[in-house]
Amino acid sequence: MIRKSLSIATLAFAAMSPAHAQESDDLSLLVGIWAVEPLTPWVEQFTEETGIGVEIQSFPFRDLLQTIEVRGSAKADDVGAIFVDAPLVPSYAVRGLIQPMAKYLEGADLEEIWAPATVDAGSWDGMMWAPPLNNSSQVLYYNRELLRAAEIQDPSSEESGRITWEELVENAKKITDSEQGIWGMVFDQISRYYQLQALPESAGGGSGVSDDGLSVEGMLTNDGWMKATQFYYDLFNTWNIAPKGIAPGQTAELFAAGKVGYFVGGHWNVSAFQEAGIDFGMALHPYFEGGTPVTGTNSWHIGIWGHTNRADEAAQLVKFLTASPEVALDYTEKHGQLPAHTAALLNIDISPKYNNMPKAGMKLATYEAANSAVTRARTPAFLEFEEIVNNSFEDIRNGGDPATVMGEAEQRIQSAMRRYR
């Protein structure tokens, strides 16, 4: 009996060795789960051309960030390259999770390869760390039926007719019908800085962080931020035209179910809304009257893993995936991703395929990405900053006083930043 138990125990413990002790010469590439299918054929081609084996490891968004932190704290050297969410570029760079890519791109005019905003997003401290793979953008969706029923004109997809927040609110009040569970408007990434940054930026409040990324003193309580956060408060608490208690991810479903008039959200929602079979249109993102048109954006980048000892090979892979026009075209055409690569951007501009829905939505998104997109706050303390700002938006949505909440957020972030100075 005991011998049997012991041998079982031995077997079992042999299976317990740390999770990532794979014996393999392949370079691993950590990617988001959504990118596996589009990138696999290209990674195979890379192996064919260079003889460097690559193993793709994929994770859902949260797990990806977590895995990167975990492997970073273990200083794991079995990773080659990683997906990098744009706002985390400074954080990863400062903490040594990625290595600079600059020396592998010497001599190239980066802004000729990629859209300038995405080049900025991949840079920190004056050099390129993680080149962009793709971009994303925010647009305004509207439910034609609900607008028609309230006798409201469709919002415009021309710059000259871009709708203002003030106008949108007035319309949304007419659409809202709490008896029927119909809401005037809703955000895609509700209470997330990612999307809501567009509000203070449009009101002239800036990104919320100082230029060196190490201070928020007075930056979250300036007039622009106060106007934006008061506006956000009113949406849910004064005008009651948007729903409380609904998480990001649920809001798109609400629009797809025909229960929302205006939906401010990512361009990638188009296909889901088409599948849902609702009658919807797309227009340019709203802005504050007298302010500037601004949209949130987010690009994905690929960087060389900070603890790898095969940086040269990893750099080849990064370059191949991000700088090859073929990869960018394919990623855009077949998989509906907004490109960062100039060749693919040009293609959207000139190809007739992009004149009709749903691909016309892409054109709108491209326009926003090129003309109104701002990068998120650039700070190595972005994880802390984002967490606190998101919580603050959520507190305001639930009825917290904007001035108090943002004042406290400022203090908290300021003290969290002390460790980066």
Partner: protein
């Protein structure tokens, strides 16, 4: 009439209170299990306007298929693996200690036993964060080692075994000693078979302890391939917050397995947990 009433109103009140309490206790289970067999529009439509159909199971098992496609099976397998190893190792390690405390007088025994009792006064959550830091230092972080080893030694289980072994008649053990049996033999071939009820209770305790652990596996083994069932469930609830039927299905699976064990061994479990013998 009044006589009947005055006599039976305490009984009626008793039943009424019990009924209210039971509804409060049971309703969440029924809603969750029923909802795990429905699609989401149906779940929502039965809530507003509220209908008692919300507690009647549907017939659609697709939520269960869906969660297993979402890697829930991996979490279940991990949890069974971790729980079974913890159970086996925990029984041996702790019963040995219980045996030593029960059958020997040795220098330091009182202090050591007091220390054992004190360790189960400290809630495991309170030390989870420094323990995490320790795992990182010794390189066990994000491995099965971290999930299993720290939970094996358990003061409560040691205590249970000590109480039981102390009650075994002295003569039995002395006779065995006279026959020349080693202490190991006495422990393994005489005392452990006698301790079967304790072993069932303690084993269940160790099993359930692992099955229900959350904070520790969340921080000590964050890689998706190491997720245990409660962590996977929580991740599900935050990542797929809209898909209620799958949350219900995952909750049902995570909840049902230990419930079956507990129901089968209810008496041993309760007495192991509390030292209370339910009659």
């Amino acid at each position: 009439m009044t006589g009947w009433w005055s006599k039976s109103w305490p009984v009626m009140a008793w039943y009424a209170t019990v009924a209210v309490g039971l509804i409060f206790t049971i309703a969440p289970f029924m809603w969750a299990v029923a909802g795990s067999f429905k699609d989401n529009p149906q779940i929502f439509s039965e809530v507003s306007p509220f209908s008692l159909m919300a507690f009647v199971p549907g017939t659609d098992p697709s939520a269960y298929f869906a969660i297993f496609q979402n890697n829930f099976g991996r979490a279940v397998a991990n949890t069974v693996f971790v729980s079974v190893i913890s159970l086996a190792a925990g029984i041996i390690v702790n019963s040995l200690a219980g045996f030593a405390f029960a059958r020997f007088a040795f220098p330091g025994d009182r202090i050591l036993f007091a220390f054992v009792l004190l360790t189960f006064a400290v809630p495991p959550e309170a030390i989870a964060i420094p323990l995490f830091s320790m795992m990182r230092q010794i390189g066990w972080f994000d491995s099965f080692w971290a999930l299993i080893i720290p939970g094996i030694a358990n003061g409560l289980v040691i205590f249970l075994y000590r109480q039981f072994f102390a009650g075994i008649p002295k003569e039995l053990i002395e006779a065995a000693r006279v026959d020349g049996l080693s202490w190991w033999h006495i422990y393994w071939t005489i005392c452990m078979p006698l301790a079967k009820p304790v072993t069932i209770g303690a084993g269940l305790l160790l099993f359930v302890f692992q099955w229900e652990s959350f904070l520790w596996p969340l921080i000590a083994a964050p890689s998706p391939e190491l997720h245990l069932i409660q962590v996977a469930l929580a991740r599900f609830a935050t990542e797929f917050s809209v898909i209620w039927n799958q949350q219900f299905a995952a909750s049902t699976i995570a909840g049902v397995l230990p419930l079956i064990f507990i129901f089968l061994f209810q008496r041993q479990f309760v007495s192991a947990l509390t030292g209370v013998d339910l009659k």
